[in-house]
Amino acid sequence: MQMLYFGWVRQRIGVPAETVAPPDEVTDVDGLIDWLSGRSDAYAEALRNRDTLRVAVNQELCEFDAPVSVGDEVALFPPMTGG
């Protein structure tokens, strides 16, 4: 699974992108975030507050209950500030 991070999420996690292989129990974004948060304090800190997190799966915005699977591109980032 290809992870991408932007904005302060990227900054706190420390890398802009990485390939991860979550266990089979991880089937949605919520589960993915929980699993990532267990990896280190940096992840836990970056992903703690879901109110300020946004998610895209395969470049489409989605909710935390969206399914994820091997081969997906999942991006986590703060609310967008375009324009």
């Binding site: 932007f6 904005g7 302060w8 470049q59 703060p78 967008m80 500030t81 375009g82 324009g83």
Partner: protein, 157 residues
């Protein structure tokens, strides 16, 4: 048409192309967003825009499509820059052409409002106090919600 680029753009040339593309349109409306030298009470010496290549183009394309669905537009242009920009530099251009001035104006207002909350960009400001990320503005979300509420009601406006 949409474009995401690091380089600056020439507003006059862009509008010239737009009106050439939209022959017969009586109205061109455009909006240019610039880097401000002040934000939240602090001097800003530069701003770096980070974006999500691929998704940005998709989102801008959807925003353009939504505007074309809502108003009778002859041409639409969105140009959005990324990278490090200094105060006074152009960040974004939206421009629309229509036979109707209200359609052109409402559509460009819509485009810039929707870019604020739907285009995957993040802004890091350099200030004397250090770098800081620009927070999403609740007013931008309110503006987005007003357009959602207007959906289907605006016709040729």
């Amino acid at each position: 048409m949409i474009r995401v680029q690091e380089d600056d753009f020439d507003v006059g040339a862009e509008l010239e192309r737009l009106s050439a593309e939209a022959k017969g349109s009586g109205a061109l409306s455009c909006f240019v967003g610039l880097v401000r030298d002040f934000s939240g009470g602090e001097a800003v010496s530069a701003m770096t825009l980070e974006h999500y290549p691929g998704m940005t183009e998709r989102q801008l394309g959807k925003i353009e499509a939504e505007a074309r669905e809502r108003w009778p537009l002859d041409a639409v242009l969105i140009v959005h820059r990324y990278g490090r920009l200094e105060p006074g530099e152009r960040i974004v251009l939206v421009a629309t052409a229509s036979a109707h001035r209200k359609a052109a104006i409402d559509a460009s207002s819509f485009l810039i409002d929707w870019l604020k909350t739907k285009a995957p960009f993040w802004k890091l400001e350099e200030t004397p106090e250090g770098d800081r990320w620009v927070d999403a503005d609740p007013e931008d979300t309110a503006a987005e919600e007003r357009w959602i509420a207007r959906e289907g009601k605006c016709g040729h406006g």
